[in-house]
Structures are given as structure tokens and as C-alpha cells.
């Protein structure tokens, strides 16, 4: 049976680990071409934001952009697709407790992938 999940409903959701501890919020999902030449895109990474009050007030964009602009580091966690369970959009969960994450890396606030450019 095909299970589907809506990316738009995942956006901003709190992610917890198996112990129930809050890790952060879903900031973005990075997709790449599955195989060279195919038109199929698959999600490889999920970016979580782990910032404090401003982000919890829903200001992830504010926090990130002001951080980038003024050089303040905002906390970003990059999670491999294997390590997160997205089947319940209201309760995305890390498959392992945070300390045992081998694939987790703390990234400086920089976006992966091609961004939108000026003229279009």
C-alpha cells in the first residue's frame, strides 16, 4: 500500500526522538535526483532548526535570515532520511535517540541546494 505524507503539513512540525525528547522543528526537506537522467526526485536530507524562542514563535525565517545577515549562528541539524520517521505528519520522530545519531551533523546556517535566483 502506498503511504503518502504532505510536505506542507510537515513544515514546522516538532521532531522528537525515541525517548520523547524534543529535538527541533522541520525546517526543510532536501530532494535530489534519484538516478542520473531520471526525472524522479527523492528526499535525502531533512533539515531541523533547533533554535530557541524566536523560532518557537514560528519565526524560523526571521531567525535564519537575520542570523545569516548578521553572522549569528543559528542552530541547524541535518538528518539523513533513514533516521527519521515521517509516516505520521503530526509526530515526526527520529528513529534513534539523539546521542546515538551517527549521521547527524551540526551545520552552520547555510542552505543546501540551488536556491531561487533573481530573474525568472
Amino acid at each position: 500500500m502506498t503511504r503518502t505524507v504532505r510536505v506542507d503539513l510537515l513544515s514546522g512540525r516538532v521532531v522528537r526522538d525515541t525517548t520523547g525528547r524534543r529535538i527541533g522543528r522541520i525546517h526543510d526537506l532536501i530532494a535530489e535526483v534519484a538516478h542520473p537522467g531520471s526525472g524522479e526526485y527523492v528526499v535525502r536530507q531533512i533539515h531541523l532548526s533547533t533554535g530557541g524562542l524566536v523560532e518557537r514563535l514560528g519565526g524560523t525565517h526571521f531567525a535564519r535570515i537575520l542570523a545569516e545577515r548578521f553572522g549569528v549562528e543559528s542552530n541547524r541539524l541535518v538528518v539523513d532520511w533513514r533516521d527519521i520517521d515521517l509516516s505520521d505528519p503530526e509526530r515526526p520522530t527520529l528513529r534513534r535517540p539523539l546521542e546515538r545519531q551517527a549521521a547527524v551533523s551540526r551545520a552552520r546556517s547555510s542552505r543546501a541546494g540551488a536556491g531561487r535566483r533573481g530573474s525568472g
Binding site: H61, I65, L66, R69, R111, R116, G118
Partner: protein, 406 residues
């Protein structure tokens, strides 16, 4: 090069002719009538703020090839976007009704036919111009005809005010009497100058006119000079009202009283020019706001849009401005007090500023949006100061409406 000069000239003329409308006229006249030159600083602050916001929204459109509304939806998502959309829609609709009221009153004073009967014909004429006309026609037509408002400069000069006193009024001062009323009028003047539909319209206009990064200079000069001269005209309106109404202790309660403000300076032609100014500037603004509301919905929801397209090619867009003009005409046709409606909509406009100005602080610093044209230090100081001011106004608006509104 000559094309650039022509563009700048047109942009400046648009600013001059477009600055005055029912709200800025009403608030400047009431401000002058009740507090003399003292509220001059509010007019100055209003036009300086508009310069910053228009330059920013024009730059945003030229660099990112998308309007302010586009960016609000794309950067912040539908959930946040509903707030500026709904607030902007409701407030703009109220201002639109006031503008139709302004034209209706001008025609009542000119012809003796009651203003209620003019509302629907005016809405129809506005609709016809939008239906058949292009963006250039709307923009240039209203700009050039709006130059009639220069009569306020003539009137002010003819009254020989003490210009040093006018200058002193440009520095903020505390109210000498009726504190709540003073600040109420100050906020109304700010709301009349800094209307979100104005800079949202301006950024849509930048796209309609095909601006690119090469037009950043034109954008800057247009935004600054247009609002400098336009604000100057609003200031002259305040000066004239201060010279004419204050000494006679005339408290302006109805729009009809404002009609005689130019008569002492220019006798009967003053009356005629006032009516012409009221009718033309309000009508031009009617066209702008109807388009601005249609732009807001179309851009936010992704519909095809352009004033240069035949209505059938962007039917939701053209349907929106049609419905909006009709709905806005109804309160006027029913006889709602135009001055009262204008005052309330100016205060609400001022109170609604945070929902667009605060996100603009973010957008103008986002390198994905602005590339190399992100705000510099000065730009950020100005914009953040504006954002703070807009939040203060929001908090003060309701109490002041209750304490200081008439």
C-alpha cells in the same frame, strides 16, 4: 539616458499628483484647523516613511522580479500570508469607500446633486477605465491630472504664512491642548501617508513596467523626490487650513467645510480648484486601490494578473476589481458620513502597518531575495525604526480612536 529622465520625471509627477487624496486632505485640514502648524512633523514623518517603504518595495520587485505580495506568500507561507492579506483587504476596502466618497462629495458640491447618487456612477466610471485601459494609462493619467493639487502650494504662498513657524512645526512637539486629540490626528496623518496599498501597488507597478536591476537608480530618485514633493503639498494643505480655520476657531466636522479652505487665498477659483483637486485625486486613488486589492489577491493566490492584459485573460483579477468597486460604493450610496469613514480608515491603516513592515525587515535582508541589493546599515536603521514605530501605532490606535476621535 533620456528614457531614464522621462521615467524619473513621470515617477516624480506620479508622487506629487498621487500623494493627496481623501485621507491626506482630510487629516491635513483637521490637523491645521485644530493645531496650527504643530502637526507638520507628522506630515514630514509620513512622507519620509513612505519614501523608505516605496524605495524598498520597488527595489525588491526590480531585483527579484516578483512583487512584495509574491514574496510575502513565498517566503512566509500561506499561513502567515493570510494575515496581511485579510487585514490589507479589509482596510483597503474601507479606504476605497472613502475615496469614492471624496469624489462623490466633490461632485455634490459642484452640482448640488446629493453625494449618495454619485457613488455608483463613479464606481462604474472607475471600472470602465480599468476594464479598457492599460497600466500606463492609469498611472500617467492620474499623475498628470493630479498636478492640479499644486493649487495648495499657490494658496499657501498667497496667505503669506510665517515660514519660520511652519519650519518650527516640522520638529515634533508636545500637544499644548487636547493631548488625545493631538496624537489621534498625528496617527491619522501617518496612516494617510503610509498606506500599505501604496507601496504594494508601487511594487506591482515596477513589475508592470518591467523594471530590472538597471532601474534601481530611477526607483530611488522616484521614491524620494515623488514623496518629498507630494508630502510638501500635504504640508501646504495643513498650512492653508491653519491660516484659514484656526484663527476663526472652525472645527471641521464635515467634509463640506473643507471646501472653502482655499477661498480666502484665491477667492472663487480657490473653491473650484479645491473641488477639482478633491475629485481628481480621489478618483485616481480609487483606480489605484481597486487595482491594489486585485493585485493582492491575484499575486497571493497565484492567478494570472496584469492591467495590461484583456480582462478575459485574467478573469479572476478583473472580477476582483469589479466586485471591490461595487462593494466599496455601497456605503457611500447609503449615505455613510464620508469624513467619519475617512478618519476611521486612516487610523486602521496606520494600525495595520506592522503586518507588512515587519516582514519587510526580513525580506530586505534575505540574500536569496535581494542578492547584492540587501539593505545596508542605513536602510536597516530606517526600516527597523519604521517597524518599531508601526508597532507603537498599533498599540496606541484603539485607545486614541476612543479618546481622540470625534
Amino acid at each position: 539616458m533620456s528614457r531614464k529622465i522621462a521615467e524619473v520625471a513621470l515617477g516624480v509627477v506620479t508622487g506629487i499628483g498621487g500623494f493627496l487624496e481623501v485621507g491626506s486632505l482630510a487629516t491635513a485640514v483637521q490637523g491645521g484647523a485644530e493645531f496650527g502648524f504643530q502637526l507638520g512633523w507628522a506630515v514630514l514623518l509620513g512622507s519620509a516613511s513612505l519614501m523608505v517603504l516605496m524605495e524598498a518595495s520597488g527595489r525588491l520587485a526590480a531585483v527579484s522580479d516578483r512583487t512584495l505580495i509574491d514574496q510575502l506568500r513565498e517566503r512566509f507561507g500561506i499561513r502567515f500570508f493570510l494575515l496581511p492579506l485579510v487585514v490589507g483587504f479589509v482596510v483597503s476596502l474601507l479606504v476605497l469607500a472613502s475615496e469614492i466618497g471624496g469624489v462623490s462629495l466633490a461632485l455634490q458640491m459642484a452640482t448640488g446633486v446629493r453625494f449618495q447618487l454619485w457613488a455608483l456612477p463613479i464606481a462604474f466610471l472607475a471600472w470602465l477605465l480599468l476594464w479598457r485601459g492599460t497600466f500606463s494609462l492609469v498611472e500617467n493619467g492620474t499623475a498628470i491630472l493630479g498636478l492640479v493639487s499644486v493649487v495648495f502650494l499657490v494658496g499657501a504662498a498667497a496667505l503669506h504664512p510665517r515660514w519660520t513657524s511652519v519650519g518650527a512645526g516640522l520638529i515634533p512637539s508636545r500637544a499644548t491642548h487636547e493631548v488625545a486629540r493631538y496624537w489621534y490626528l498625528a496617527i491619522s496623518i501617518l496612516g494617510a501617508s503610509i498606506s500599505p496599498y501604496l507601496y504594494a501597488f508601487y511594487s506591482s507597478g515596477a513589475i508592470e513596467d518591467g523594471w530590472t536591476t538597471e532601474d534601481l537608480g530611477v526607483n530611488r530618485i522616484t521614491a524620494v523626490l515623488g514623496n518629498l514633493f507630494g508630502g510638501g503639498l500635504a504640508l501646504m494643505t495643513l498650512v492653508v487650513a491653519a491660516m484659514v480655520f484656526l484663527p476663526r476657531h472652525i472645527h471641521v466636522d464635515a467634509y463640506e467645510q473643507t471646501a472653502l479652505v482655499l477661498t480666502p487665498a484665491l477667492s472663487h477659483p480657490g473653491f473650484v480648484f479645491f473641488l477639482a483637486t478633491l475629485a481628481i485625486t480621489c478618483f485616481g486613488t480609487t483606480l489605484e486601490i481597486a487595482l491594489a486589492i486585485a493585485y493582492m489577491l491575484a499575486q497571493g493566490l497565484g492567478w494570472p494578473w496584469s492591467e495590461n492584459m484583456r480582462p478575459a485573460a485574467d478573469s479572476r483579477f478583473s472580477f476582483t476589481y469589479t466586485v471591490v468597486l461595487l462593494v466599496a460604493a455601497i456605503p457611500i450610496a447609503l449615505g455613510v458620513n464620508v469624513l467619519g469613514l475617512t478618519n476611521i480608515s486612516m487610523v486602521l491603516t496606520a494600525a495595520s502597518l506592522p503586518v507588512t513592515v515587519v516582514p519587510m525587515v526580513v525580506l530586505m535582508n534575505d540574500r536569496d531575495v535581494m542578492g547584492k541589493s540587501v539593505n545596508g546599515f542605513v536602510g536597516n536603521v530606517a526600516l527597523v525604526a519604521l517597524a518599531v514605530m508601526s508597532c507603537v501605532i498599533l498599540l496606541a490606535a484603539i485607545p486614541l480612536q476612543l479618546l481622540g476621535g470625534s
